[in-house]
């Protein structure tokens, strides 16, 4: 029984990692399983978001404040992961914007954004 409580405690105390893993796997699943190009991009964004959480979790200290210099606070989160993720978010936004732009162009060219129908149109023509 004690072992069980121990294990449960360990699992719960790292709940942020479980959320990371859940987002990562579900994002990747959507990318693979969906044929709709916009939904694929949603999955991709979810997948990228999980990476942000992975980095930020590592920089967080329980009871720590934001990393602003102040004589009243001595314990604060590690600022570097935040900076890195700020960069990663920009990359993610750029990727999503470019992906959506491509989907718009694909919709203009093919009249659909379902992968199956697009491949079918190309096969028929070839």
């Amino acid at each position: 029984m004690n072992e069980f409580v121990d294990l449960a405690g360990r699992l719960v105390s790292h709940y942020n990692q479980w959320i990371t893993v859940f987002l990562m796997v579900s994002g990747l699943y959507i990318v693979i399983a969906r044929g709709n190009m916009v939904k694929k991009l949603v999955g991709l964004s979810l997948f990228q978001t999980s990476v942000y959480l992975l980095y930020l979790s590592a920089g967080k200290i329980l009871g720590g404040t934001a990393p602003i210099l102040d004589p009243d606070f001595t314990v604060y989160s590690h600022p570097l992961p935040h900076v890195l993720i700020l960069t990663a978010i920009v990359v993610g936004v750029a990727t999503l914007a470019l992906g959506l732009a491509l989907v718009v162009r694909i919709n203009e060219a093919y009249g659909t954004i379902e992968e199956d129908e697009i491949f079918k149109q190309d096969d028929d023509r070839a």
Binding site: V31, L102, R105
Partner: protein
């Protein structure tokens, strides 16, 4: 001035990209591209000379210490990659003007050059940086711009190819950054050299093993290691000719460099290849790439697609060399990295010239084109012979090293497989020869002629280079061997 060369290597093309986007007109944008493309190999050559004279160059961006800031670090390995990428860019630049004008709508030509220069800056950045996260940013900089480059192709299938590449590329880059994050939590640093120093203490922990797996798979997506190559054939086939030449010659090569850097310098060959079964996995995948992709190449009806599949196979040779983790194997892999860049640049440039004159690139549409464009096609034939590995060409040198490396570790069957696989190359290259030389020109082809000199000269330079580096191997094989020794020693 000379102490800031590492920063200039990346900043010059980046500024050029901004300028090209600002001028908006095709002519000036091209001129900027030419100036930048000729400046970058000069900088790379100066860096290489500095490295050969005085050892590793360490450049601290903004004066920050490497433990907190970003360090650019140039040794023999990445000096070679920098010189390769920038030289290819310099050869492409004069060729690009007419080809881009004919394939990209006028109002997008300046954007094309802007994307092209950003992609160049990103690739040079990956090669020069000594910081794991900075490498991710440059990876995405070069990838995002290459998706845009591919999407500018005329065929609507270019859009789908770009989209698929975007999905796969982003997954690859995210895998890479997950791996880097795990390493960061275990070692507390993002500097490749510092990671290499500290990783020995934690290398048997699970996060480090997981990080290795994520990084290897992530970069393998980018370098198109079989079976993670599915984005490549369509992307190369439907992109504008200039984009295909540039990406085929440089993008996968820089990803391979990053792979080698992580596996050998950061994690260490002893950990990756001796303690883990990475050699076995990589050898199997590489051989599968060589035979699988070469076989598929034989059955393509689109010439560009055929050579794109051939690229997947040729990447297999390079990873095969790396996977042996010996000096000879690594030398073979690196020398083939350089040689294949030149060979594929020459071939795709020749096809670009054909497309410029004929407007199509299916086998049936370009039958007999060799009789109308003999100089262009002769150059492509020379490059193809080098692809097969005919003695006296650059391809022979790399295959020789690979076979010797296979026999050195006692795997004579692997040497035999490499020889056998050349037969497959002979088949698809032979099919191409038969089509362009031995059939009667008809339709558009009958009216075609040699391309203008500004396209013809770059093709001939590359074809001549594949022959020259088959005879004088000092610069390619000699440098590759020094790079191999440096990689196997680790970063510091």
């Amino acid at each position: 001035m000379s102490e800031h060369l590492p920063a200039l290597q990346v900043v010059v093309p980046l500024l050029g990209a901004v300028l090209a986007a600002l001028v908006r007109r095709p002519g000036p944008a091209w001129l900027i591209t030419v100036v930048v493309s000729f400046a970058t190999p000069v900088i790379a050559a100066m860096l290489l000379v500095q490295v050969l004279d005085g050892g590793v160059i360490s450049y601290h961006l903004g004066g920050w210490d490497p433990s907190v800031g970003i360090e650019y670090r140039v040794d023999v390995v990445n000096a070679l990659v920098l010189l390769l990428v920038s030289s290819v860019a310099a050869v492409i630049a004069p060729f690009a003007r007419l080809s881009v004008l004919s394939e990209v709508p006028d109002d997008r030509v300046a954007w094309f050059y802007s994307m092209y220069l950003i992609s160049l800056a990103g690739l040079l950045g990956i090669a020069i940086t000594g910081d794991a996260f900075n490498a991710f940013v440059f990876l995405e900089v070069s990838s995002l711009s290459s998706y845009a480059l591919i999407a500018m192709g005329r065929d609507r299938r270019a859009l789908v190819a770009a989209y698929q590449y975007l999905i796969m590329g982003t997954i690859g880059a995210s895998f890479y950054v997950i791996g880097v994050g795990l390493i960061y939590t275990m070692t507390g640093t993002l500097n490749l050299g510092l990671i290499a120093e500290r990783i020995g203490d934690v290398e048997s922990t699970r996060p480090v093993l997981v990080a290795l797996a994520f990084i290897v798979v992530g970069i393998s997506l980018k370098l198109a290691l079989f079976p993670l190559h599915v984005w490549l054939p369509n992307a190369y086939a439907y992109a504008p000719s200039v984009a295909t030449v540039f990406l085929a010659a440089t993008a996968t090569k820089v990803a391979i460099y990053l792979f080698a850097r992580f596996v050998f310098s950061v994690f260490g060959a002893g950990f990756v290849f001796a303690d883990l079964p990475v050699t076995e996995i990589l050898v199997v995948l590489s051989v599968a790439a060589i035979f699988g992709a070469s076989t598929v190449a034989i059955f393509q009806s689109d010439v560009k697609r055929m050579f794109a599949y051939s690229s997947v196979g040729q990447v297999g040779y390079i990873t095969l060399g790396l996977s042996l983790a010996t000096v000879t194997g690594l030398t073979g892999g690196l020398v083939h990295l350089v040689n294949h860049a030149m060979i594929k640049a020459a071939i795709f440039m020749g096809l670009g010239a054909v497309f410029y004159r004929v407007g199509k690139i299916e086998f049936d549409d370009i039958a007999g084109v060799g009789r109308r464009m003999p100089i262009t096609m002769s150059a492509v034939v020379i490059a193809c012979l080098s692809l097969v590995g005919v003695p006296g060409t650059a391809g022979f040198v790399s295959k020789w090293y690979l076979i010797v490396a296979a026999i050195e570790v006692g795997w004579w069957w692997l040497g035999l497989l490499i020889v056998l696989s050349s037969m497959l190359t002979v088949i698809y290259v032979g099919r191409f020869f038969e089509c362009v030389w031995f059939r009667e020109p008809a339709g558009e082809v009958a009216r075609a002629g040699e391309p203008p000199l500004e396209m013809l000269v770059p093709i001939c330079i590359l074809a001549a280079a594949t022959v020259y580096f088959g005879i004088d191997t000092e610069l390619t094989a000699g440098m590759a061997e020094r790079a191999a020794v440096a990689l196997l020693q680790g970063v510091r």
